[in-house]
Symmetry: C3
Subunit: 352 residues, 3 copies
């Protein structure tokens, strides 16, 4: 085992850290955004591994490292790099030329932080929800791991969303946060809706999740959301109607996701989703928010006139660009926090 | 609308700026090349979006940002990032998961400058010449946009070519610049020949464009070239014979391009081009230049022994490597100029 | 010819430099690893061209440039950049839009060092072993060329391996180094085994190469290995049995490679390789090393339970992560050495 788990702190899920640490991180994010923090990442390297596409995540982390004196490296296994095996004990005589165990070990020697994006993979949700690749990186990489979206969580999105909620909603506790499922031509992962719900729960909001029958989130994740809401003085409701959720809401957070019971069976999942194209945020929905002044959030990328109408994205409700910008600032605060927790690896390292 | 167009200055075409600003930029480029300018881009980020391949453009901008203290991010939509939709009002239920409106908006928050390469796209030249994606970026990105080659212009190539002409030709006004069409197995875009012609026109040169029947440049672009030539004291002629253009020329600039009337109809365009393989710059052509000492220019990449013979590229006439090097220096001057016009975005930005 | 070969020193093979220079470089690598060297690459740019995949090479060079104040650019011809032609005198009317001559010339103007990875290509070993692309870059690029693995050598791996041997083996002269062929589903290049053997030879070790009949390395490369071993006081033996090589060894270096006589004929090569799956390093093999305490090395990526068993990689013998880390430090020393030999190109360059 290469892991020295006693001395590193991964960032796999926001709720892995105590609430006061997250509060401190968000206060730092606000200062970062205000331009009050310079430097802090000099000589530091972030290695990012992307098994799935990214626009915001990659560019905002690259920008964030640079703005504080560090740098970011990007690896795309299977595109310019070697594809990774994740199974334990396997005889690797197929297409995959490198095991994630070695990739994680090596990157932990080249970088101060190693970040990984790996969407759910496998033939069943039971398999995918285990986040095998992320676990291998956490176990076999000496550097702290940052989760850039796994099957279960998108904690960097969650940090940015927390920053946006704090900026936009005075005293968010008790205010209504509508997380609304939306139709989409593909079965998307559930990490973002779970993380968005966790952000609302952390703010002590009245969280209402609207989703069609068959599109419940993972039960263990729902338990985590409910526990955090209770701890923070908020509530969680699950409803069947989009209209019911958005009525009087302060925040409408739209997101599509696939039916977990049909994970790995695209044909039956698609049939379940097919009649649900009306699950779309319209101007009328936003006019039904509190005073018609609720804000519209989405993690992006968003399909216009599929998940949400042009009239909403181009109207006064949309905060999606501010929300995306906050990815940058919240992640800068995260990186500064991780750097403060991690002694500069490479420059003081001698042979073991 | 996210655009604050009153405070940003895009760089979509060289002729959008007054002549004295271009003169100042070229004087700065000469000083940059001489090693007289250090720094100037500290804390600055350039985000580059490539929908089409690049060697020189990407590496020279990355090098240029670094050499003055900044950094560059590269995004390739559809390869590691999400492909962009550009149609307005469309129901996005097809293959494209992100609209350029959001991509432009977000990148404008992460970067100080956003650059875009998008070759002509569409089923007709009438559609392609509108440069839809570039227009969306100009409209929806808060940061200045740099055109890295669109359907209509390659202004960074034009700046580099201007620098090369000033270095190589004493008093270029009145000297002969032969822009010669060349055969190529594919129908290439017209942005480079238009920009090369504009560079010659700006220098007040005797511009002679040699192209076969059916290969005229866009009429509006020709009007722009002629107007600039007149303003700068030069002339423009269009001829049918390569030999006629190169005779006595000081500069031979070879470039292939497709027949615009057949844009979107490769079979008929290819049939028109097929008999024209003799349109190629030979040693004999270069010996026919003024005193046999004309210089050979090409934007690169160039197909050896198809557009131009080995004897020319490996002979005393070729200036193509110097020309490519000047991309770097002219762009450094452009970035320094844009930085001087643009307050440091990220570090002083507070929530809107 | 663009090359000013009198003033640049390429790094194509370790043995191209005198032994005392390599000794000095390895002493510098140890100081780099100990954190004693800061800076030294300020304002310097490394351009890396990858025709084949990479994880360690790309990220370790990017990290190395950054850690000393420089930066690295990565180009992947055919993926986001133009594919290169390498044939001389060819009429380029096929798929390749740029000749390597121009690519090398241009990159030499943008970067202080140009590095290239190009695995063997061609229909015969006689063709592939010429390393045509690397030769073009050496001839046509004004900047020093670094070989990131060609058909014949992987000199950066060799430097890292030398550093690992010096760290792990007190007084390596006369100690036993077993280079053992391993089965693999594909016919891999021979650059790494040749470079590993050269590292052992340079250390004056007792080098034993175990390979099945038909899997001899290139005869000229074997001559180079033997000459270096003789010069450094070591020995070279070639045996048919893996067990014989590892018995009493201090180092077991496993690597698969293809049968050169069948290069370009995958079917016959594969038939030769098929019955050889037992060529795999097991726990039993490591227990047969000197005192059962030999170290296991591999350049990575490695196929678990194909080239080597989990029990070895996860056991006390494996030094593969340390070995990969040394790529970083040895290359930092190489870059610092090249920088000291090369005047800062871009900033003092004026027009030629």
């Amino acid at each position: 085992m290469l892991t020295s788990s006693s001395t590193k702190r991964d960032f796999l899920a926001v709720e892995d850290r105590p609430h006061d640490e997250i509060e401190a991180l968000l206060r730092l994010a606000a200062r970062v955004k205000a331009g009050e923090i310079r430097g802090g990442l000099e000589g530091r390297i972030l290695a990012m591994v992307f098994l799935d596409p990214s626009l915001r995540t990659r560019t905002s982390f690259e920008a964030g490292m640079y703005l504080h004196g560090g740098t970011a490296l990007t690896i795309e296994p299977g595109k310019g790099s070697w594809p990774f095996e994740t199974a334990r004990g396997i005889v690797m005589d197929g297409d995959r030329v490198e095991h994630a165990i070695e990739a994680a070990g090596v990157l932990g020697r080249y970088a101060d932080f190693v970040a990984l994006r790996a969407f759910p993979r496998g033939t069943s949700w039971g398999e995918a929800r285990g986040d095998a690749l992320l676990r291998i990186f956490a176990d076999h990489c000496e550097a702290p791991i940052v989760n850039l979206e796994s099957a279960r969580r998108h904690p960097c999105q969650e940090l940015g969303d927390l920053q946006t909620l704090r900026e936009r909603i005075d005293a968010p506790a008790g205010r209504r946060f509508a997380l609304t499922w939306a139709w989409h031509p593909k079965a998307l992962p559930t990490a973002v809706p779970v993380s968005a719900a966790l952000a609302a729960a952390r703010c002590g909001m009245e969280l209402v999740i609207a989703r069609p029958a068959g599109f419940d989130l993972d039960p263990e994740d729902m338990d985590t959301i409910r526990a955090l809401a209770t701890e923070r003085g908020g509530t969680v409701a699950v409803v069947d109607q989009l209209d019911e959720a958005v009525r009087g809401a302060d925040v409408v957070y739209a997101k599509s996701w696939g039916a977990l019971a049909h994970f790995g069976d695209p044909a039956s999942e698609s049939a379940l989703r097919a009649p649900l194209r009306d699950w779309r945020i319209t101007k009328r929905a936003m006019e039904a928010t509190r005073g018609g002044a609720g804000i519209f959030l989405h993690c992006l990328p968003v399909r216009r006139n599929v998940e949400v109408d042009d009239a909403v994205l181009d109207g006064p409700w949309s905060a999606v660009i501010d929300q995306a910008e906050n990815r940058l600032h919240a992640q800068r605060a995260l990186l500064l926090t991780l750097a403060a927790e991690t002694p500069g690896a490479l420059k003081v390292r001698t042979n073991r």
